[in-house]
Amino acid sequence: MSLTETKTEKIDGWNRPPVIVPDGEGELLEVAMGPHHPSTHGVFRMDLALDGERVVRLKPVFGYLHRNHEKIAEQASYLASMPYTDRLDYMCPLTNNWAYALAVEKLAAQEVPERAQYIRVILGELTRIQNHASSIGFLIQEMGASGTPLMYAFKEREKILDLFESLTGSRMMCNYMRFGGCRVDVSTAWLDAARKVIAGLPQFVDEFEALLSSNEILMARCQGVGILRPDLAVNAGVTGPMLRASGVDYDIRKVDHYGIYDRFKFRVPLGDHGDVYDRYMVRILEIRESIKIVEQALKEIPGGPIMDAKAKIRGFRPKPGEAYGRIEAPKGELGFYLISDGGPNPYRYRVRPPSLINLTVLEDMCLGSNVADVVLIFGSVDIVLGEVDR
């Protein structure tokens, strides 16, 4: 099958997806992939136009899980939205909590005590580890390796979720952070349990990598597939491991130094080619870096209060103004934009969802590839529909 590919990447000066002209033999086949396709991580639809097996056009369709999270949050008090942020990216509730808490703390100029900052870092990085492990597991499941690698990943994820459960009372709907600190203190026993889990993690990553990284099938399926150019990635607002896999050095933990990230030694892994394999590899390396951060944080964690003494729980009314707080969530830049009019509810509450914005370039990455690769490219973006549709 020959395809006449026209290089029209910058019509009218903007990064439009390239136009692929079919070779003219036969008709285009229009396929609605999803919303109940097993590879779509939930309810997501891609409207594909196929020329034989090649993708000529791809339009993502959203909104199947839309419940207008932002409107609900504007009708509730600031604190009442905290448990609801768990439901955005339900794989990583604690980073969602953190991003929201960070934005409100910025809005109200609220300090956070030392110990709470350390707890946040430990939980945030544990969240990153379990998110990356399971997203790699899903990716490999979509490659056809049904079950086994995913179960290896989930075995480790389960240990981390057990830690979350023993601390917050819930595996996935943690509702743990508060404006000015955290809800409950970690015990010595919990810290020991966390140390034990962390001590076992490098071995898990080694094992995982020994099985996968130089696996011939994985390399054949992933390398050179779904390439994302770095200039397009920046222009399209792609963030997180996807941006770094394209070789762009941008990690908000390093750029903004939010929380206490400037105290820890860690590196930012970067990719070279921007293909699916690089995204896989960047996630593996990020797990290793996160393990280092948690180890350092567990070593240095000080005593003291976990809530700021001046933090207001009841009658919380920030002064009029606005603030945008963002963190490096496992999937990319998770931001909250809040406008306060001095009332008990936010006047405007906006979530900047990394999953949705990373999908902007899905069409660009998929055009010209096979349908089977679309599943793979889509899996390598790592999205959660709870956050995409909000």
Binding site: G63, A236, V238, Y250, P320, R326, Y337, T360, D389
Partner: protein
């Protein structure tokens, strides 16, 4: 990074007649912003992206904000001449009274953009644009040609707030379904009692008006 005032001066030097206005953020975050006139917005955005010092190549976040019409009650001192009877004699007197006057401050829709620089690792710069009103003049220029990341986010703002982004390549609803009429994130949006129920009514109406001559009905009982 330069301060917001310096950026304003730089924009005014580069784009003549840019119409940039400084908007102070009264809160403790103190992230001040620049309001850009829609007419010159794309030129300003292109300058912000391509300027070597600023290099704001990364548009992080696009939010819509709804500012409904506000009824403002003001107390005004009014001096008027009244006729009063003092000691049996009618007199013309000047009297000052407080009068409450109500005026309606027209609302608008606003689009807020948070810009960062990946190359220089600085930010954010907040720029905003507002529409003339909330009903018929809701058009703003699209930033999608400048920053591709606005593509889905402007579609979302169009969907939920009803701002029409001129120059957007594919302005369709993003989250609500096709055929949905309203804009749910607006402050005055009233949601229907029950979406399901409304569908039932429409379907019942359809059923009532249907063509009665169907094959099965005419066959009657006794047909296998």
């Amino acid at each position: 990074m330069k301060t917001v005032e310096e950026i304003k001066a730089a924009i005014e030097a580069a784009v003549p007649g840019a119409g940039v206005e400084f908007v102070r953020n009264p809160g403790p975050a103190a992230e001040h912003s620049l309001r850009v006139a829609p007419a010159s917005a794309v030129a300003v955005a292109t300058f912000l992206r391509d300027d070597a010092d600023l290099a704001l190549d990364f548009l992080s976040n696009v939010s819509g904000v709804d500012w409904p019409d506000k009824e403002i009650a003001e107390k005004v001192k009014v001096t008027r001449t009244v006729t009063k009877t003092v000691d049996g004699v009618e007199q013309q007197m000047e009297e000052t009274v407080d009068e409450t006057r109500k005026r309606i401050e027209p609302g608008c829709l606003e689009a807020v953009y948070h810009l960062y620089s990946v190359a220089k690792k600085h930010g954010p710069l907040v720029i905003r644009m507002k529409t003339a009103n909330r009903s018929d003049q809701v058009e703003l220029p699209s930033f999608t040609p400048v920053w591709r990341s606005a593509e889905f986010q402007e579609r979302e703002v169009f969907d939920l707030y009803g701002i029409i982004f001129a120059g957007h390549p594919d302005l369709r609803r993003l989250l609500m379904w096709e055929g949905f009429k309203d804009h749910p994130m607006r402050k005055d949006y009233v949601e229907p009692d029950d979406y399901e129920y409304e569908h039932v009514l429409a379907r019942a109406q359809e059923h009532k008006n249907r063509d009665q001559r169907t094959e099965i009905r005419d066959q009657g009982p006794g047909v296998a």
